[in-house]
Symmetry: C2
Subunit: 328 residues, 2 copies
């Protein structure tokens, strides 16, 4: 069997996750990892060769799909259009508001290069988006809800760490159970920000720091915490490392809707994820879409694609006959 | 806006559901209902014209998609290949074991006729199949579980009604909560038939019938009940009509799996449906796939398709730009 040759650009949590995911897919093999750091300073979990980013174009013919593992703030807006001229690529661009302009830039580059570029792959955007689309197409008269958590929010944890007197911190986003129950009961609640999620913070204070002031600064921080019911726990560094070292996340997408001649019947569609490792799960989704990018490119397709544009069959290593027999 | 013109072949619960669903889709209109009964004996819920099945081919140019609402046992194996030569069609063929031969027959007919034929659309097969495929493509090292219910099983209710002394009956299939909890906890249980579902029966006995004998016959009925923990309640006809008149159903598809260099992280993907009306929800799914059949046919595609072959974007009435902005 000819294997799909995967390259990884950027070796952080997501890149490591992709390295692990490729090992679980028998029809794929990892060619190389590329980094902007000094390659000799990067050790991969399974001994994959590491090169500086300057070697990327030289190795173009050794890869079928390049996985872009940079951040959405500054890396991907530049990298995805640049690399989509030369490679089939997959990225996890997740700045919702900027997706239209990212799509346009990547689409032009991928068309000019004759490549397939999958953007905004992961779980939100990604699997959650798919579930919103399917549920909306089915239940036309209904209402959508997305809840995140329980899980670590990196941005909110970082915001706490920037407060003077804070040594380290982790922040969990948690759906409000009563809100979820109301949605599932088809009560169609209109939920405020505060009614949907609570925020729980575990903070390691520097010695002698004013904990009351830190707690107050967290609770009143605009955008991040002021609109939420926020709990702050001060714990030791040992406790933080012992009990909060993971990167769990997850969430739920629900749509409730009515059918019948007078809307007399209610329906609930619910999709949920409980993830021990946010980056490893995201990596698994990107890896499945790498298979799709490879196949769609082989069929002659080009341009920017999102999860909405990919027929599910492209994601599975099974043949169409096997899929119909075992999964349908 | 040019509307997608829908025809309905067969006017039972599913056909009525499609009539209601089309009314919820602004880009569609219902052309006609076709029946094997005397058309003058059929009254549609929204006054749609009813014709005998002999008029179907005459009206060919008035419909973009024909919805086949017959049963999987005898209707669809004959109807879908026959009509796929002349119409884009959607069916809900759900005899899993016979899908390969149904696919082959329909594919040949649809290709010869230059039409698109969507088969096995609904929630299982259908949305549950999609969720099995997506979850398997993402979590490669994992285990699948499908639970059905709580809901009415038509086949099991019919089986009870055939027992001498039974006037009427309804049977609910119910997932076993402890089994679900074990799956969600990533314990990867191997579950027997008995461990996954219980069966609860509400039976109206004829006057003077031997209830102990009826209960015994139900509990020991091979294939239907013998392998399950089955509860039998005898109730009055009034109670059956009052409390068990609906056709609710639903269920869950779960996949749990491991990621990481040593499989150290667990993940749970769960999709669930809670449906007040099984046929009306199924009808909504078929209606969304009618939109896809229409669009794929306009793009020149032909042949038999399943939900695996349909890019999600084809299902939504939104433009690609709207989808990316509002759903991604």
């Amino acid at each position: 069997m000819e294997k799909i040759r995967i390259g990884i650009m950027g070796y952080g949590n997501l890149g490591r996750g992709i390295e692990c995911a490729v090992r679980q897919n028998e029809d794929m093999e990892l060619t190389a990892v590329f980094t902007r750091r000094n390659p000799s300073s990067v050790e991969t979990v399974s001994g994959t060769a590491v090169y500086g980013v300057d070697r990327l174009l030289q190795k173009k013919d050794e890869m079928d799909v390049l996985m872009l593992c940079g951040g959405s703030a500054t890396d991907l807006p530049r990298q995805t259009p640049e690399y989509a001229r030369h490679f089939n690529v997959v990225d996890s661009f997740d700045t919702h508001a900027n997706i239209p302009q990212h799509f346009a830039a990547v689409d032009q580059a991928a068309r000019e290069g004759g490549k397939v570029a999958m953007i905004s792959v992961g779980w939100d955007p990604g699997m959650f988006s798919l579930n919103r689309l399917y549920a909306n197409a089915i239940l036309r008269d209904g209402k959508d809800y997305t809840f995140w958590g329980k899980g670590i929010s990196q941005g909110h944890s970082d915001a706490i760490r920037r407060i003077p007197g804070v040594k380290d911190a982790k922040q969990y986003t948690i759906p409000v159970e009563s809100a979820l129950a109301s949605v599932r009961a088809c009560e169609n609640p209109d939920l405020t920000t505060r009614q949907k999620h609570i925020r729980e913070c575990f903070v390691v204070a520097q010695e002698g720091a004013d904990k009351a002031r830190i707690e107050q600064e967290i609770r009143t921080m605009p955008n991040y915490f002021a609109d939420y019911d926020t709990t702050v726990h001060f714990i030791s560094e040992e406790e933080l490392l012992r009990d909060h070292a993971g990167i769990p996340h997850g969430g739920l997408v629900l749509r409730t809707g009515k059918t019948g001649i007078n809307g007399e019947n209610n329906h609930v569609i619910e999709y949920s994820l409980k993830l021990d490792s946010n980056p490893e799960f995201t990596a698994c989704v990107l890896t499945a879409y790498a298979r799709a990018a490879y196949r769609m490119s082989r069929e002659g397709m080009t341009g920017c694609k999102t999860v909405f544009d990919v027929a599910p069959a492209y994601l599975s290593p099974m043949s169409p006959e096997e899929m119909r027999e075992h999964l349908l």
